[in-house]
C-alpha cells in the first residue's frame, strides 16, 4: 500500500477533540482567539488570481486551443468553469470544461467509510490529444493530484496534463507541483485552509484557521483534517 509507511496515514486524530486551545480570558465562549478564522484571500483577490491564471494558461498553451479544463469536485468544478469563462472572453471562443471525480482512485479509501461519489463530466471532445488542465481549490499533500492522474489514465491519453490551484499550502508528500498557482500560502500542519466559493457556499473567500475550529460545523471546503 502506498500509504503504509507514510506519516500521513497514521495520524487520524485531528478531528479537533484532541486540540486544546488555551482558554482565553474575556474571549467569546466556545471559541478561543486561535479559533478565529483569518481571511487570507478576499473575493476581489480570488478574482484577480483567477484572471491571472487564465492568462497564464493562454500564454503557456499558445492560445488555449487544445485545452480541456477539468475541475476536481467539489470546489475545483466551479473554479474550472470560471477559468473557462475568462479564457473564452479573451480568446473569443468556448473552452471545454468539466469535472473529474477521483474518489474511486484515492489511496486512503480504506481509512474511512465509503464516500459519496462526485460527478465526472468529460466534455464531448474527450481528452485524447488535448492538454488537460486539472483544477482544484487547494494543493496540499499532492495525493489528490496523483489520484486524478490515475483517473485520467483510464479516460484517455492527453497530450499533456497541467495543474492549476487557487491555493498552494505546501507540505507535499509526493513529487507533484502545480503549473498555475493563485496564491502560495505558507501554513502549519496544525492549520486548516477553508475555501468558500459563491457557487457552493454563497460567498468567495479563503480562510485560515487552527485545526480545532474545524470541529464546529461550518460551510466551506476543508483541507487539512486528514492528518
Amino acid at each position: 500500500m502506498a500509504h503504509a509507511a507514510h506519516p500521513a496515514g497514521g495520524q487520524p486524530g485531528t478531528t479537533g477533540d484532541s486540540v486544546t486551545n488555551p482558554t482565553p480570558t474575556g474571549g467569546p465562549p466556545d471559541r478561543g482567539p486561535q479559533a478565529h478564522p483569518k481571511t487570507v484571500l478576499e473575493a476581489a483577490e480570488i478574482n484577480r488570481a483567477l484572471t491571472r491564471i487564465a492568462h497564464e494558461i493562454i500564454e503557456r498553451t499558445r492560445g488555449a486551443e487544445q485545452v480541456v479544463l477539468l475541475g476536481i469536485p467539489t470546489r475545483g468544478v466551479p473554479l474550472a468553469g470560471r477559468l473557462a469563462d475568462r479564457i473564452s472572453q479573451v480568446e473569443g471562443r468556448a473552452v471545454p470544461h468539466g469535472s473529474l471525480d477521483i474518489t474511486m482512485y484515492r489511496d486512503d479509501l480504506r481509512l474511512r467509510p465509503a464516500r459519496r461519489l462526485g460527478p465526472t463530466q468529460v466534455p464531448a471532445e474527450g481528452i485524447d490529444g488535448q492538454t488537460v488542465v486539472l483544477v482544484d481549490d487547494v494543493l496540499y499533500s499532492g495525493r489528490t493530484a496523483r489520484a486524478a492522474l490515475d483517473a485520467l489514465n483510464d479516460l484517455g491519453r492527453p497530450l499533456a496534463v497541467q495543474l492549476a490551484v487557487l491555493v498552494d499550502r505546501g507540505h507535499r508528500e509526493l513529487p507533484i507541483r502545480a503549473d498555475y498557482v493563485g496564491k502560495n500560502l505558507p501554513t502549519s500542519q496544525q492549520e486548516v485552509v477553508r475555501v468558500l466559493l459563491t457557487e457552493t457556499d454563497g460567498e468567495d473567500a479563503v480562510l485560515l484557521e487552527p485545526v480545532g475550529a474545524a470541529a464546529q460545523p461550518r460551510r466551506g471546503g476543508v483541507t487539512g483534517r486528514r492528518r
Binding site: 474511486m104 479509501l109 467509510p113 465509503a114 459519496r116 461519489l117 483510464d154 479516460l155
Partner: protein, 312 residues
C-alpha cells in the same frame, strides 16, 4: 449502510438513494474505453449460488470485476455441497479463503441471514427462496428513476407501480414493494387470489384481482414470472387462462398512460405473463434492466467494501 445487504426492507430512504446516486455515477464507466476502476483491488468476492441463475451471477461478476475485485465463482454442482456439506461448513471454507464479500443465492428463505452470522465479510443476498432479492429491487428503482427523467437525489414520489402475477413465489415482488414504498412510490399488487401470500395485509401496498382496472392507473407495470419450478399445486386452471386474465398483451399495453413503462425481472415466459410484442416494444425496459443491474451492483459492492474494513 449496514455491513450486509440481506433485505430491501432494511434500507432507509437515505441508504437507497445513496446506492442509486452512486450507481448513477458508476453507470458512466460502461461508456468508457477502459471499463474498470481500481477501487476494490485486492478484495475477494465469492459468488455462492445454490440455485440456477444467469443474469444475476454474471451481473455480480461483471460488477466486481469492473471494480478490480477478484471473483471466485462457487457453483454448487460439482462442489462439496453435492457431497452433503452443510451451509455452515461451506461458510467456514469461504472464511478461510479470505472472502471479503459473499454473494449468495439459496433456495431457502433466510439462508443469507444465517450466513451473515458466520462470516466476517459482507453478505449480499442475491435471492433467497421466496423472501427477498434486494439488488433486483434496487436496479428496478434505478431503471424507473432514469426512465422518468429523475436525477441524483430524487426519489420516486407520486409514481404508481403495479406489480402483476406470481407474488406468492416472488422474492422480487417483496423486495420491490418495500423499497419502492420507501422511495415514495404507490405500489399496487394484482394477482389471482391463489398467488398471493397469506400475510399480504401487512404489506405496504394495495391488492386487487383485476388487471384491466389497474392498467390505466399505472406509470409502471412490472410483470412477474410464473415460477413453475416452485409450484407444487394447481394455482390456476390453465396457463392459457392465466395469460388471458393476468398476461400483458398488446390490447392492455394500449390502455397504459402515455409515458408508462413495462418491466420484467427476467427470465421471461413469452406468451404467458407477457406477450412477445410487449416485451420487444419501446416501452419495455427489460434490456435496460440488465445493464442497470451491473451499475447498481457496482454501487452496492463499492459502498459495502470500498471503505474502512467492514468489521471495525
Amino acid at each position: 449502510m449496514n455491513r450486509h445487504l440481506i433485505s430491501a426492507a432494511d434500507l432507509s430512504k437515505q441508504d437507497a438513494l445513496l446506492i442509486l446516486d452512486t450507481a448513477e455515477e458508476l453507470a458512466q464507466v460502461a461508456d468508457r474505453p477502459i471499463k474498470k476502476l481500481p477501487t476494490l483491488r485486492g478484495r475477494t468476492v465469492v459468488n455462492l449460488f445454490f440455485e440456477d441463475s444467469t443474469r444475476t451471477r454474471i451481473s455480480f461478476e461483471a460488477a466486481a470485476k469492473r471494480l478490480s475485485a477478484d471473483v471466485i465463482n462457487f457453483a454448487v454442482k460439482g462442489s462439496s455441497v453435492a457431497k452433503g456439506e452443510s451451509l455452515k461448513d461451506t461458510a467456514l471454507t469461504l472464511e478461510a479463503m479470505g472472502a471479503d464479500a459473499v454473494v449468495v443465492r439459496h433456495g431457502a428463505s433466510g439462508a443469507p441471514q444465517r450466513l451473515a452470522g458466520w462470516l466476517r465479510g459482507s453478505v449480499i443476498n442475491a435471492g433467497d427462496g421466496a423472501h427477498e432479492h434486494p439488488t433486483q429491487a434496487l436496479l428496478d428503482a434505478f431503471t424507473i428513476r432514469r426512465r422518468f427523467g429523475r436525477g441524483s437525489g430524487e426519489a420516486l414520489d407520486g409514481l404508481r407501480v403495479t406489480i402483476v402475477g406470481d407474488v406468492l413465489h416472488s422474492r422480487v415482488a417483496r423486495s420491490n414493494v418495500w423499497l419502492l414504498r420507501e422511495l415514495g412510490a404507490e405500489v399496487a399488487l394484482v394477482a389471482p387470489p391463489t398467488l398471493l401470500p397469506v400475510a399480504i395485509d401487512g404489506w405496504p401496498c394495495s391488492v386487487s384481482y383485476d388487471l384491466d382496472a389497474a392498467v390505466p392507473k399505472s406509470d409502471v407495470v412490472m410483470m412477474l414470472r410464473i415460477q413453475q419450478e416452485r409450484m407444487n399445486a394447481a394455482y390456476f386452471p390453465s396457463v392459457r387462462e392465466y395469460s388471458r386474465r393476468y398476461g400483458l398483451d398488446t390490447v392492455r399495453l394500449r390502455q397504459l398512460p402515455e409515458d408508462a413503462i413495462v418491466m420484467h425481472p427476467g427470465p421471461m415466459n413469452r406468451g404467458v405473463e407477457i406477450a412477445a410484442e410487449v416485451a420487444d416494444s419501446p416501452r419495455s425496459t427489460i434490456v435496460e434492466q440488465v445493464a442497470n443491474g451491473v451499475s447498481v451492483r457496482m454501487a452496492v459492492l463499492y459502498l459495502l467494501l470500498g471503505g474502512l474494513e467492514a468489521a471495525q
